[in-house]
């Protein structure tokens, strides 16, 4: 787990969030049947409720926590993908969205490469990485994230656009 860049209290929360997310995700998976989906946003919020008392003792606000939890969510997803890969012995790839283009013209990218690109983004600009974690990996809407970050939605979108072009560039290399 990439806890090296976190202060000890946050690292602790990160670890707790990771475990909790994993636990809830597993429970959700057991409940859901094959066609259902798991709401990752709900997972992150539930984790907040569950870990609240603990978080308060280390003096961490909700915004900060959600950012950490979103990152933990990314880790949960990536780890899960990794295990899937180990099981299937093939690379798992994600098809990029293709609203306008036909399905054939859409490149597929490797989820592990996305993970690597995210690590590079973290090194470049932690805030951009946080926006991606919140939006992409825990599925929060822009207005929610904007409120959390305390900036206008329009500014947030600008950040998101920068992060997105970075990831696309990294993934297309």
């Amino acid at each position: 787990m990439p806890t090296h860049s976190l202060d000890p209290a946050s690292a602790d929360v990160y670890a707790a969030a990771y475990d909790e997310l994993l636990r809830i995700a597993r429970r959700e998976r057991r409940k859901a049947n094959a066609s259902a989906t798991v709401n990752t946003t709900a997972l992150v919020h539930e984790t907040w409720l569950k870990l609240r008392s603990h978080i308060e003792t280390v003096d961490l606000d909700r915004t900060h926590f959600l950012a950490i939890a979103a990152r933990a969510m990314r880790q949960v997803l990536i780890d899960h993908a990794r295990r899937g890969i180990a099981r299937k012995r093939e690379h798992l790839s994600v098809t990029l969205d293709h609203a306008d283009d036909g399905p054939d013209s859409t490149p597929a990218f490797d989820i592990l490469e996305l993970d690597a690109a995210m690590r590079r983004l973290e090194g470049l600009d932690a805030r951009l990485a946080r926006v991606v974690d919140l939006h992409v990996f825990s599925g929060m809407e822009f207005h929610e994230i904007a409120t959390l970050e305390g900036i206008p939605e329009r500014s947030l979108f600008r950040l998101w656009r920068n992060a997105r072009v970075f990831l696309l560039a990294e993934l297309s290399s």
Binding site: V94, L96, D101, L124, E170
Partner: protein, 979 residues
């Protein structure tokens, strides 16, 4: 694009600026921002393109994200697990999937029910439940229980296990179908009681007994299945000794006791209720609350109205398979006692119920009438309270011995009894079948590691118990070849014992013995000797004959490892001479050990005699298909290999290997060794293509099992290097042999016999590769080491011959002859020596003599070598061709063209069998033919053959090679027209 961070810091603000600008002003803005920097412009354009594509990472990841967490359960079923091929799914539960599987290797026909955990690996409670089931099955070895056959983990680390697959029909259905008589019905239920009683004695409560879990097989034997929700009794709260944690789901209301429906703790009496319900069904034609027992809520209501009426009354109202008058009286009593709502009023366990059924059949009075059930249950509690109290001392899940063994509750004896019981149980898990059948697998290791970790905590106040546990765990780790953990545990056991009972404590001797073996396995021979010396000092005052024999045998082992073969022989002789009174299996293992010592000394006849004797003892005891027999067969094969009889060894290896494959897990040190031996035989028979893939499998398996620095890895690498030498792939062989030298040196020092042997091999490979300087340095240093060690004459002679050959390669045949003569003198003093080794020495000598022009003695020595090889029937061995080549060269030197031609022909035939036509060894033959042609003045033929041979030799051996020199000399001579 792979852009550096600094570049991104520049690019992103520019991109942001551009993307925010109105589309029609973008182009202009871009020009302005990137004036004079075309690369920057290109990059920014690329970013704008990517941005404009409308590809949304967020959306696609969102889809993936939501789906990903769900797909764990949708992975396709495995096609193979360990040695088992999956045939089809039999069913799936919350915990795992059950498959029908069969042996994939076709060694013999066997079908199993194979259960694979379905939960995520880090779901600890799920794993614990799963492993609990496996562990219960491992403990339960009874003809009426579908027992454990095999277990392991799949490629992603999920544990699985295989059980006997029972083809049968549910018990009540069986009775109906066969129109079973009353006696037959009762006997079937008695068989069920026996199996359940066996489980109860091992502190396992089934918790889910019902017809679909009690199948009657073709032989009429009922078999219990599915311990999926079974529970250990040990985790019982103190007030109620025979209760287990509640099974909250998956119960079948019709056979579930009131306490189970209420979600209360379960005990042996809950199983009694379930058997009672089946008895009711089999005798009365229906379940106790038939019609209102499909849903839990209904069943609870039905039970709340009271206990079921007597089964004979039921039979009166609804005529069933048994006449009411047969049921009235005793059978009514038995059924209703089993079905009491208050667990304390039922039979205390399945054994008691079975006893009363037997009593009924033989007309004896029932217990249920003699003794009120409540009274008996009280007695049962009293009898078991001690066991329950003691189980609190036990480590997680490790106490499960029979309560009966703990009857006397004298406080003074408590610790002793507990120690022995718990320890025996722990060892039984691993020894029950055969210690070698356990493996370094997640399930067993998880259990042991956890116990080891808990040792201090759980037994803080019980140092004696802790010492005993540490010893047991150390032994288990030793059996699992986890020698570092074994050492830690044994050292701990030793410290604890000594702290309590002093340095000379008799109890410390067994610990010291295993510790000595452990230390030796870790290559710490000095410490091992010291540990064993302490054990011997203690045993010389106290111990029985068995302990002293053990001491001698281990001392012999250590002496052999240290290369002190005479001493090893004396010690093992002493052990065998005093072992007459010991069990035959112990004598057999001692004979085996003596065979190893004899083999190490080159006394192959003695070794084979001892091995055959041990084999006979083992076969007499347990028949053919046992690990001991397999081990001895493989030893016998190894001895044949030493005699040079690879073709004779191969079938024996295969026979032993087949047993290993049947009886061992799919990855196991012994299996790896057996495969390695087979590969060696195949390589020696010239089938290196068959041998290489086996070696590579073995190497991969051993590295997984042991890591890199391990004797077995070194041995396999050595054999593989030899294979590459056979194929003239010297660079590969040299790298591997260097690795072998490194491993042995790290394990036991550069002067250990095995390190020295591998260094000799390295020198030979260097020489054959043409690196004479390196070869000389290596071989000279080995020779110096051999000369400084006792008992090394045979090895020293071998090394001298290799140096002699090196001298010959370097064009110094006279210097070579000095070496060979010294080697021959050393061998003359050795009575028993591997004939192949002796022959190889003679061949090397002969070749040097021919090179030095001493044709007569060269022929004599070559013929002596051939005679030796004939005597061990090694006519198809590559060594035989070498000896023929030596004889041909001698004959050439003597200008006996006719004899030389004949020798060359035979040598060509032998080599053609072992090596492809393009191999340099055949080129060597061709070169000899060229020499013969030259002698016969057939110049053209001589030149053609010599040129062809030269090209092949250079291609495979490089230019730095005596055979190439020889070919060149011949060509120069013939081209010049010299005779």
């Amino acid at each position: 694009m792979n852009i550096r961070n600094e570049d991104w810091r520049e690019l992103l603000p520019l991109f942001e600026h551009l993307s925010e600008a109105a589309p029609d002003t973008r182009e202009h803005l871009l020009d302005e921002l990137t004036r004079g920097r075309p690369q920057l412009r290109a990059r920014l354009l690329q970013l704008l393109d990517l941005d404009a594509c409308g590809q949304s990472i967020a959306h696609s990841v969102a889809q993936w994200r939501e789906r990903l967490l769900l797909d764990a359960d949708q992975t396709p079923p495995p096609t193979r697990l360990g040695p088992w091929r999956i045939v089809r799914e039999l069913g799936a539960g919350g915990m795992g999937q059950v498959f029908l599987a069969e042996r994939a290797d076709g060694t013999y026909e066997q079908k199993v029910a194979l259960k694979l955990i379905r939960a995520e690996l880090n779901d600890e409670s799920a794993i614990r439940r799963f492993l609990d089931e496996r562990r219960m099955l491992a403990v339960l070895d009874h003809p009426g229980i579908a027992g454990l056959i095999d277990g392991g983990v799949d490629e992603s680390g999920r544990p699985w296990f295989a059980m006997h697959h029972v083809e049968g029909i549910p018990l009540p259905e069986y009775c109906t179908k066969h129109q079973a008589s009353l006696d037959e019905r009762l006997r079937l239920l008695i068989a069920v009681c026996d199996a359940v009683a066996y489980a109860h004695r091992h502190f396992v409560v089934h918790c889910d007994l019902k017809p679909s879990n009690v199948l009657v097989d073709a032989s009429g034997q009922p078999q219990l299945l599915d311990f999926g929700i079974a529970r250990w009794l040990e985790r019982a709260p103190l007030p109620d000794p025979h209760s287990a944690t509640t099974a909250t789901h998956a119960l079948t209301p019709g056979y579930a006791s009131p306490e189970q429906l209420a979600g209360e703790p379960l005990g042996t009496t809950s199983d009694v209720y379930a058997i009672g319900a089946m008895l009711h069904e089999v005798l009365g034609g229906q379940r106790p609350y038939a019609g209102s027992d499909t849903r839990v809520a209904d069943a609870v209501q039905a039970q709340a109205r009271g206990e079921p009426p007597a089964v004979s009354l039921l039979a009166q109202q609804h005529p069933g398979p048994v006449a009411p008058r047969q049921l009235r009286g005793d059978l009514d009593t038995i059924v209703s006692t089993a079905l009491r709502h208050d667990p304390a009023q039922r039979y205390p366990d399945a054994a008691a119920l079975g006893d009363d059924l037997r009593a009924f059949l033989s007309g004896r009075p029932l217990c249920a009438q003699r003794n009120s059930p409540r009274h008996r249950a009280r007695k049962f509690v009293a009898r078991h309270r001690l066991a329950v109290a003691l189980s609190v001392l036990a480590l997680i899940g490790l106490i499960a011995t029979t309560a009966i063994a703990l009857q006397q509750n004298a406080v003074a004896r408590r610790e002793l009894v507990a120690t022995r019981a718990v320890r025996d149980f722990l060892l039984d898990i691993f020894r029950g079948i055969d210690p070698r059948e356990t493996n370094d697998q997640i399930d067993t290791r998880l259990l042991i590691d956890r116990s080891a970790a808990n040792l201090d905590n759980a037994l803080k106040t019980q140092p004696e118990l802790a010492a005993s546990f540490a010893q047991a765990l150390g032994e288990v780790y030793f059996h699992l070849a986890a020698y570092d953990q074994a050492e830690t545990m044994l050292q701990r056991a030793l410290d604890l014992t000594r702290a309590r009972e002093g340095m000379q404590a008799p109890a410390s001797a067994p610990v010291l013995r295993i510790l000595a073996q452990t230390l030796a396995e870790r290559g710490k021979l000095g410490e091992a000797d010291a540990a064993l010396a302490s054990a011997r000092a203690i045993d010389s005052q106290h111990a029985d004959i068995g302990a002293r024999v053990d001491d001698d045998a281990i001392a012999a082992d250590l002496a052999q490892l240290a290369g002190k073969l005479d001493q090893a022989q004396k010690l093992i002789d002493a052990a065998i001479n005093s072992a007459d009174s010991l069990p035959s299996s112990r004598r057999a293992t001692l004979l085996n050990q003596r065979a190893q010592v004899a083999a190490a000394r080159g006394a192959l006849d003695d070794a084979e005699r001892d091995t055959q004797a041990a084999l006979a003892l083992f076969r007499e005891q347990d028949g053919n298909d046992t690990l001991d027999v397999a081990e001895n067969l493989i030893n016998l094969g190894v001895l044949r290999m030493r005699r040079g009889d690879a073709a004779g060894a191969e079938p024996i290896f295969r026979e032993g290997l087949a047993t290993y494959q049947r009886r061992l897990p799919s990855e196991h040190p012994l299996l790896a060794k057996a495969m390695s031996n087979l590969a060696r035989a195949l390589d020696r028979e010239g089938k290196s293509d068959e041998a290489e893939p086996i070696y590579l499998d073995v190497l991969a398996m051993q590295r997984r099992l042991f890591g890199e620095t391990h004797a077995d890895v070194a041995t396999t690498l050595n054999n593989l290097a030899v294979l590459h030498v056979g194929r003239s792939e010297y660079a590969k062989a040299r790298t591997m042999m260097q690795a072998v030298v490194d491993i042995w040196t790290r394990l036991s020092g550069a002067r250990h016999p095995l390190a020295l042997a591998s260094r000799t091999n390295l020198g030979v490979i260097e020489r054959e590769e043409g690196d004479y300087a390196a070869a000389r340095a290596t071989l000279e240093s080995v020779l110096a080491d051999y000369r400084s060690l006792p008992d090394m004459a045979a090895r020293e002679a071998g090394c001298l011959d290799q140096l002699g050959t090196l001298d010959r390669y370097e064009g110094k045949p006279d210097q070579a002859l000095v070496r060979h003569r010294e080697a021959a003198a050393l061998r003359a003093g050795l009575k028993q020596l591997n004939p192949l080794e002796r022959a190889a020495g003679l061949v090397a000598w002969s070749l040097s003599e021919s090179a030095a022009g001493a044709g007569a003695s060269a022929r004599e020595h070559a013929i002596a070598a051939l005679t030796l090889l004939d005597s061990v029937k090694a006519q198809s061995d590559p060594h035989y061709a070498d000896a023929l080549v030596a004889r041909a060269r001698a004959e050439l030197a003597l200008h006996d063209i006719k004899a030389a031609t004949a020798s060359v022909q035979v040598a060509a035939a032998v080599r053609a069998k072992h090596f492809p036509a393009s191999d340099w060894r055949n080129a060597e033959i061709e070169l000899l033919e060229a020499e013969l042609a030259a002698q016969r003045a057939q110049r053209t033929s001589a030149i053609t053959k010599a040129a062809h041979a030269r090209d092949l030799l250079i291609a495979q051996r490089g230019v730095n090679n005596p055979l190439v020199d020889q070919a060149k000399r011949l060509l120069t001579r013939e081209h010049a027209g010299a005779p």
